[in-house]
C-alpha cells in the first residue's frame, strides 16, 4: 500500500490540529484517501501532543507505525526529538527552532531544557530542515501563521498541487485571514526552495 505518513508534534495549544486538518483537506481536494488521528482532552493542556496524517489511494488505518513516518513536522525542538523514532531511515524532520521548557524542572541550574538539543537533533534525525516559522510569522505580524508556514515548507514533497493547498486553506480559515494565510504558506514554500 502506497501511503505517505506525516506526523505533527508539539505542545498542546500550538496549532498542531489546525495544520493537520489543512493537510488532510488538501489531500481530499487532490482526490486522495486520508485518515488522521487527533488528540483531544486532558493531553491538550500544555502536554506533548501528536497528530498522525496518512494519505494515499487507500488508507485503512489512522496511526503511523514507529519507523514509518516520511515526514515529522515539529513545532518545538524537544517534541521533535521525542517523536524522532517515528521517522523512516530516509525521513525528513521539519523543525521550528523553538524552546518551550517543560514544567518538570526546578531552580537548580541546568535542570531545565535539554542542553545541546540542536546537535542531538542533527545527529539523531536522518535529515533536519530548520524552519524558523515563529520568526517568519512575527515578520508577518501574526504568530498564528506558524502552522501554514510549516505546511508551505513541507508542501513540495507531497502529491498535492498549489491549488489543492489554497482550496484547503480557504476551507479551513475565515475569509478575513485567508489571503494572509496563503501569503504565509508561500513564505514557507520559498524558505525551503531557497535554503534546501
Amino acid at each position: 500500500m502506497d501511503i505517505t505518513n506525516i506526523l505533527f508534534s508539539g505542545v498542546g495549544g500550538q496549532g498542531i490540529l489546525t495544520s493537520s486538518r489543512v493537510l488532510a483537506l488538501a489531500a481530499v481536494h487532490a482526490g486522495l484517501d486520508v485518515k488522521m488521528s487527533e488528540v483531544h482532552g486532558m493531553a491538550q493542556r500544555g502536554g506533548n501532543v501528536d497528530t498522525h496524517v496518512r494519505i494515499g489511494k487507500e488508507v485503512p488505518s489512522s496511526l503511523i507505525p514507529a519507523g514509518g513516518a516520511h515526514f515529522l513536522v515539529s513545532f518545538e525542538k524537544l517534541e521533535a526529538l521525542r517523536y524522532m523514532a517515528y521517522l523512516r531511515s530516509d525521513g525528513i524532520a521539519y523543525v521550528c527552532p523553538l524552546e518551550i521548557p517543560p514544567l518538570t524542572q526546578n531552580l537548580k541550574k541546568d535542570s531545565g531544557y535539554l542542553k545541546g538539543i540542536d546537535g542531538i537533533l542533527e545527529e539523531k534525525a536522518p535529515r533536519v530542515i530548520w524552519v524558523d516559522a515563529p520568526a517568519m510569522a512575527r515578520e508577518l505580524g501574526d504568530l498564528r501563521m506558524v502552522n501554514v508556514i510549516l505546511l508551505g515548507a513541507l508542501s513540495k514533497r507531497l502529491p498535492m498541487t498549489e491549488e489543492d493547498w489554497e482550496a484547503a486553506i480557504r476551507e479551513r480559515f475565515p475569509a478575513k485571514v485567508q489571503e494572509a494565510c496563503i501569503r504565509a504558506f508561500r513564505m514557507g514554500v520559498d524558505h525551503v526552495a531557497s535554503n534546501h
Binding site: M1, R21, V28, S37, A43, Q44, G46, P101, L103
Partner: protein, 584 residues
C-alpha cells in the same frame, strides 16, 4: 460528495440523516464532539444534561413520545447511566434510542480502561461498532431502525481512535421518517416485578431475532475473502490494522458485535486453516467463540492493556513489525512534558494553598485533577465523578485526629452539578464536619469548555437559566457557605482556616471564570526584580508554563504569562510585580 469528518462528527451526521429529533449527554473525552456537531443541525433539539443518567432518562422520554433520540457519553458515563440503560432494555423503545459509549483504550483521558462491550451483553441490547468515520455515519443512521425493529436501545460502541479519527465520509440525504406518536402500554413501560417477569421473555426473544440478523447480514458482518491459510475475526478500529498488516488474509469483519454471529464465525473458521481474533482490550469475542467450541487464538498474541496499533498487530500476525525503527534515542535523557493547568488558571492558587497548608485533599474529575501532579502534588485521592464529597466525609470521620480539621473535598462546578449534590446532602444529614471546596469557573473546562447548569448558556450559546452554586448549597441546608476569590491567596487561606476549624459541614466556593472559557483578554505579564530574588523557587513551584528557570533564576515568558499574580503572592521577597503596580 466526499467530505472530511471527525468520527464524532460523522455520528452526528448519521443521526441527523436518520431524522433524530433529540440529542443529550454529558461531556466526556472521547465522546464530547458528537453533541456539539449535532447542535450544528438546527432541526434537532440538542442539550447537555447535568449527568449521563439524566440525559439517558430524558432521551427515553423522547423515545416514548415516538421520536428518535440519541444519548452520548464516555465509557465511565455509562456506569452513571447504567440504571436506566439496563432497565430500558426491558421496556424497549417507541422511537429509536441510540446510546453512544465512547471507550478509551489506553486511558488517554480517563481513569479506567473498562470494555463496555460487556455492558451490551449484560444489558441484553444490540451493539454495533464502527471502524472509521464513514462507518460511524452509516451505523449511527441504521442504528435507529435497528432499535425500532428489535424494540431495544442500541449501543453504538466507539473507541478513542474511532471518535477522534478524521477521514473521508459520503454524507447522504435525510431519510423520510415520521414520528410515531405516544402509545400508552402499561405492561411494557411500567417495570413492576410482575410486568418485568413478562418482559424478561421478550428480551430473550429479541436476542434470538437479533442473532438471526447478525448471522445473515453481509452488510453488518461482511466476510472479506482471502487466503485459506488464516482467517481473522476483528471489529472496530482493529479492522484497519488487520487490513494493512495482512491484506491477503480472509477477514470476518464484525460490525454487529452483540449478539455475535456464532454460526457465521463457525462457517468462516471451517474455511481457513487457522482462526485468529484481533480485538482491543478484553477477549470479548474470543471467549464467546471458544465457548462455542471453535478453535481460536488471539489474546496471547496481543498485550492485555492499551490500544492496538499497526506494529502490534503485525507482530501478532507476522511475528515482527514491518517497519524497522532506525532512530536510536538511547542515552538521551528526555524530559517528560505532562499536561498542566493553563497560565492564568483559577485553580493554581487554590492548589498552591492546599499544598502549603498540608491539607488532605479528596479530589475529583476535571482540569483540577492536574493539581495532583508535581510541583503542586496537592491531591491525595481522585476516583470518579462526584466522589470527592463522600470520600472527604468518610476520611474526616475515621481518619483520626490527624485528619480532623485537615480534610477537604475539592470538586469543580460541573462535577458538583453532575453528582456532587447527593454527596453534600449526605454530609449535611449525617453531620459531617468536613469542608467542601467547590471550584466554580462556570465551564466544563477539561473537555473543551461546554456549558453546564451554572453557566447560563445552552449548547448553542443562547441564554439559559443559571443555577448559583452557593445558593444551591444554602438551599440544601449548609449553614456555612462562603464565596472567595481564588486569586486572592491571603483571604482564601483565612477562609479555609476558619471553615476547617468549624465543627460542622462548610462549603467554600472559589468563584473565577475559566481563562479559556471566558476568552478573557490576556493581561500584562509580571516582571521580576532579579536583584531581590533569593532563588527559593516558590514561584516555580506554582507550576506555571509562564515562569521557568533560566540560568538559575526565575524568568517570565511574556507571551504566556497572564499577570494573574499567584507567583507574585508566594514570593516572600516581593520580587515579582505587575508593571506600573506596587510590589505584590
Amino acid at each position: 460528495m466526499r467530505k472530511l469528518m471527525l468520527g464524532n462528527e460523522a455520528v452526528a451526521r448519521g443521526a441527523w440523516e436518520a431524522c433524530v429529533a433529540f440529542g443529550s449527554g454529558y461531556p466526556g473525552t472521547p465522546s464530547t464532539e458528537i453533541l456539539e456537531a449535532l447542535a450544528e443541525y438546527e432541526e434537532v433539539a440538542v442539550q447537555w444534561a447535568p449527568n449521563e443518567k439524566v440525559g439517558y432518562e430524558v432521551a427515553m422520554g423522547v423515545s416514548l413520545s415516538g421520536h428518535r433520540a440519541l444519548v452520548t457519553m464516555k465509557h465511565v458515563g455509562l456506569n452513571v447511566a447504567a440504571d436506566p440503560f439496563f432497565s430500558s432494555s426491558y421496556m424497549g423503545v417507541n422511537g429509536g434510542l441510540v446510546v453512544v459509549s465512547a471507550d478509551d483504550p489506553g486511558m488517554a483521558s480517563s481513569q479506567d480502561e473498562q470494555d463496555n462491550r460487556f455492558l451490551a451483553k449484560a444489558a441484553k441490547v444490540l451493539m454495533v461498532e464502527p471502524c472509521d468515520p464513514e462507518e460511524s455515519r452509516w451505523m449511527a443512521r441504521e442504528a435507529f431502525a435497528l432499535s425500532e425493529g428489535f424494540d431495544s436501545p442500541v449501543l453504538l460502541r466507539m473507541t478513542t481512535r474511532v471518535c477522534h479519527q478524521t477521514g473521508v465520509v459520503n454524507p447522504q440525504e435525510r431519510e423520510a421518517w415520521s414520528p410515531k406518536g405516544y402509545l400508552k402500554d402499561i405492561p411494557k413501560n411500567v417495570l413492576l416485578p410482575s410486568h418485568s417477569k413478562a418482559r424478561r421473555f421478550k428480551v430473550e426473544e429479541r436476542l434470538v431475532r437479533a442473532r438471526e440478523l447478525s448471522e445473515a447480514s453481509d452488510r453488518w458482518n461482511p466476510i472479506l475473502p482471502g487466503s485459506a491459510d488464516i482467517g481473522i475475526v476483528t471489529s472496530g478500529v482493529s479492522f484497519g490494522y488487520v487490513r494493512e498488516a495482512m491484506p491477503e488474509a480472509s477477514i470476518l469483519k464484525l460490525g454487529m458485535t452483540h449478539p455475535l454471529p456464532i454460526e457465521r464465525i463457525r462457517l468462516f473458521a471451517s474455511r481457513v486453516k487457522r482462526l485468529v481474533v484481533i480485538e482491543e482490550l478484553e477477549p470479548y469475542m474470543e471467549t464467546e467463540i471458544r465457548n462455542a467450541g471453535i478453535e481460536v487464538t488471539g489474546r496471547e498474541l496481543l498485550p492485555f492493556t492499551g490500544e492496538l496499533n499497526l506494529p502490534l498487530v503485525e507482530k501478532a500476525l507476522l511475528g515482527a513489525p514491518r517497519h524497522k525503527v532506525t532512530v536510536d534515542l538511547g542515552g538521551v535523557q528526555m524530559p517528560t512534558r505532562p499536561p498542566t493547568l493553563c497560565p492564568g488558571c483559577s485553580h493554581r492558587g487554590m492548589f498552591t494553598l492546599f499544598r502549603d497548608m498540608k491539607l488532605r485533599v479528596m479530589g475529583d474529575i476535571g482540569c483540577y485533577t492536574l493539581g495532583a501532579l508535581k510541583p503542586l502534588a496537592a491531591m491525595d485521592a481522585c476516583m470518579c465523578m462526584g466522589a470527592s464529597v463522600g470520600m472527604a466525609e468518610g476520611l474526616e470521620k475515621f481518619g483520626g485526629p490527624k485528619e480532623k480539621g485537615k480534610t477537604i473535598g475539592v470538586i469543580g462546578d460541573s462535577t458538583f452539578f453532575h453528582s456532587g449534590i447527593p454527596g453534600l446532602i449526605d454530609m449535611i444529614v449525617n453531620r459531617s464536619a468536613a469542608t467542601l471546596v467547590i471550584l466554580d469557573n462556570r465551564w466544563t473546562a477539561m473537555t473543551g469548555g461546554q456549558p453546564h447548569p451554572g453557566t447560563g448558556k445552552d449548547i448553542r450559546g443562547n441564554d439559559a437559566p443559571q443555577l448559583n452554586v452557593a445558593q444551591v448549597c444554602r438551599a440544601l441546608g449548609v449553614q456555612r457557605v462562603r464565596e472567595v476569590d481564588p486569586f486572592d491567596l491571603e483571604a482564601t487561606r483565612k477562609a479555609l482556616e476558619e471553615e476547617l476549624a468549624a465543627p460542622e459541614v462548610s462549603v467554600v466556593v472559589a468563584v473565577a471564570p475559566c481563562i479559556l472559557g471566558a476568552r478573557l483578554k490576556k493581561g500584562e505579564a509580571v516582571q521580576i526584580a532579579i536583584e531581590e530574588c533569593d532563588r527559593c523557587g516558590a514561584c516555580i513551584r506554582v507550576g506555571c508554563m509562564g515562569i521557568h528557570e533560566k540560568d538559575g533564576f526565575p524568568d517570565v515568558d511574556p507571551d504566556l504569562c497572564t499577570g494573574c499574580c499567584v507567583c507574585a503572592q508566594v514570593c516572600e521577597k516581593g520580587a515579582i510585580s505587575l508593571p506600573g503596580a506596587g510590589r505584590a
